[in-house]
């Protein structure tokens, strides 16, 4: 199901022409309205009319998170505040929140891309969309809400928290689509098990999960536990919120809505574009935003891109399932380590979701990694010998995947903190 066939199935030649025009308009808008960008462009001797093609992107300056912090709260707005009809902010883990400012037209664009996302997931006006993303300054709740409203679905603005009540509502109101973080989806499944509710008692058929990276194995687990098809939605406050990219039902990568968001994949060290298929840092230029447009914003998300046509018929570029973030990445004894790698290893060995925690420390000038793994049906044996063998097996599998050795410690259930939002997987003691 495609919401906007004209846009989503556009011939790439036509799409590029459109992007060229929009990029030029965007650069002009930034140059004449945002002092921060004017200064940057002038420093590089670039004037708006110089920019006529997306091939010139690599000559344009990049934008990083710190730039948003330095211009907090409204320094990057390209319109007077009287035209800003909505403000959002994301919590962020350090320092000031990241602000998003939207004009009326931006809100329409946002609803449009979320509508496209819902249709890509096979959701339409007959569905009952249960939004368990937080409502408020966070873009998740209201973002999905608007898009669901646009397609005429029945929207339940459940927001986050109060899990047992959510399950009751899901049951009584007949929710067919669940929108929340993947960790929360698993938490819902765990709670269902606790209260003795079987997934067949609910009418859920689709899940739209995002706001944090999640593995293929985690997807399979969610699909199996909730009896739904689970799809990945991508977005970030800086660009617009959820709806920047979305998986179609073939689950072969996330389609970027390129008529609105121009993607690049850059080598995080050299900042040069990498060929299609290679992993790098995802960078976006907003092509149609009015309130707070951004030029070449570094998302710190790692992925790869392809422009091969998808079976669904969409011609829009696809992003591979994300491999983690450049800042989630740990460097331990000189090796790049991602918590998601640990998750993959454990999921392969376990029938239920593994709960784990990476603890990094520095002892005698050497980085050390300890991984706590909660005991469950798959990670337990009544015999010490077997339990030790299991621990060694986990250790060996992790070593071969990560490339460094780690101490594995089995811990009792529920010792590792659960979260209803993004799960915390790492404690880095070296930072103190």
């Amino acid at each position: 199901m495609i919401w906007n066939e004209h846009a989503e199935c556009m011939e790439r030649e036509q799409l590029i022409k459109l992007q060229n025009e929009r990029l030029h308009t965007m650069v002009s808008r930034l140059y004449y309205n945002v002092p921060f960008y004017r200064k940057k462009l002038q420093e590089q001797g670039i004037e708006p009319d110089d920019i006529r093609s997306i091939n010139q992107l690599k000559d344009l300056p990049l934008t990083i998170k710190q730039d948003l912090r330095d211009n907090y709260p409204f320094g990057l707005f390209a319109v007077p505040q009287s035209e800003v009809v909505r403000l959002h902010a994301s919590s962020g883990t350090t320092g000031k929140p990241t602000v998003g400012g939207y004009t009326r037209h931006d809100l329409e664009t946002w609803s449009e891309v979320v509508a496209r996302s819902l249709y890509a997931a096979g959701v339409d006006h007959n569905d009952v969309v249960h939004v368990s993303y937080g409502y408020g300054l966070f873009t998740g709740g209201l973002g999905i809400h608007q898009g669901a409203q646009k397609i005429g679905a029945t929207v339940i603005p459940a927001s986050g928290g109060n899990t047992k009540k959510q399950l009751q509502i899901m049951h009584d109101f007949g929710s067919t689509v669940l929108a929340c973080t993947p960790s929360y989806a698993l938490y819902l499944a765990e709670t269902m098990k606790e209260i003795g509710m079987d997934p067949s008692e609910l009418r859920l058929r689709r899940g739209i999960f995002g706001a944090e990276p999640w593995t293929e194995e985690m997807r399979k687990e969610i699909e199996q536990k909730l009896h739904i098809k689970a799809l990945d939605i991508y977005g970030l406050t800086e660009i617009i919120g959820p709806g920047v990219a979305m998986e179609c039902e073939h689950q072969h990568g996330l389609h970027v809505f390129e008529d609105h968001f121009l993607p690049e994949i850059l080598n995080p060290q050299t900042l040069q574009p990498v060929p299609y298929g290679e992993v790098g840092e995802l960078v976006f230029t907003t092509l149609t935003k009015e309130g707070m447009p951004l030029l070449r914003y570094r998302t710190r998300d790692l992925t790869s891109m392809t422009i091969e046509k998808c079976t669904c018929g969409r011609t829009m570029a696809r992003l591979h399932k994300f491999m983690g973030r450049t800042d989630d990445m740990l460097i331990i004894r000189g090796v790049n380590v991602f918590p998601s790698q640990v998750e993959s290893v454990l999921l392969e060995m376990s029938e239920t979701e593994p709960h784990y925690l990476l603890i990094v420390d520095r002892i005698n000038n050497l980085d050390v990694l300890e991984i706590l793994v909660e005991v469950n049906e798959s990670f337990f044996s009544d015999e010490i010998r077997q339990l030790e063998a299991l621990t060694h097996k986990i250790k060996a599998n992790i070593e071969s995947t990560l490339g460094i050795s780690a101490k594995i410690k089995l811990v009792e259930p529920k010792t590792i903190e659960r979260s209803e939002g993004k799960a915390k997987r790492v404690i880095d003691k070296r930072l103190h």
């Binding site: 005991v375 469950n376 049906e377 337990f380 009544d382 015999e383 010490i384 010998r385 339990l387 030790e388 410690k409 089995l410 811990v411 009792e412 259930p413 529920k414 010792t415």
Partner: protein, 141 residues
């Protein structure tokens, strides 16, 4: 034919053991046998109780990693040499013993054993006239 035993995973932290016994006491569970296999990081607690399913549910509810394991329980008359005799029978069928522990039962000695073939172990002991412990309810005193 086999005896149900509870196995728990416990970290080497203060208070875990007393917490287990608190839960059992609150649920009026009588412990017949209690044994701990320890390593430097954790211990496996093995127990025979009089209401296995009740204890299992109560401990699980308190968040313990508790699972049931099937073992062979048998009675030996309380005299020197009887354990030796029983083990000789098992050696004759080349059984591998994973673990073994013993406790007093009705004036006799009872032994719990887990092997690489519990069924064969139970059948062998039965054929030599040993009384097998099968129902946990018999541990009600």
């Amino acid at each position: 034919m086999l005896l149900k035993q509870l196995s728990l995973f416990l970290e080497n932290k203060t208070g875990r053991l007393s917490e287990v016994t608190r839960v059992l006491s609150e649920n009026h569970i009588n412990i017949a046998a209690f044994s701990i296999a320890d390593t430097s990081d954790f211990g496996i607690l093995r127990m025979i109780v009089d209401q296995t399913d009740v204890a299992l549910a109560a401990l699980k509810q308190q968040g313990f990693a508790v699972y049931t394991t099937y073992v062979v329980g048998f009675v030996i008359t309380n005299q020197p040499g009887n354990l030796y005799q029983a083990l000789q029978h098992l050696d004759s069928i080349a059984i591998e013993i994973e673990y073994l522990y013993a406790f007093a039962h009705n004036g006799d000695a009872a032994t719990v054993i887990k092997t690489n073939d519990n069924e064969l172990t139970a059948n062998t002991l039965k054929s030599f006239g040993y009384h097998l412990l099968e129902e946990s309810e018999q541990f009600n005193e």
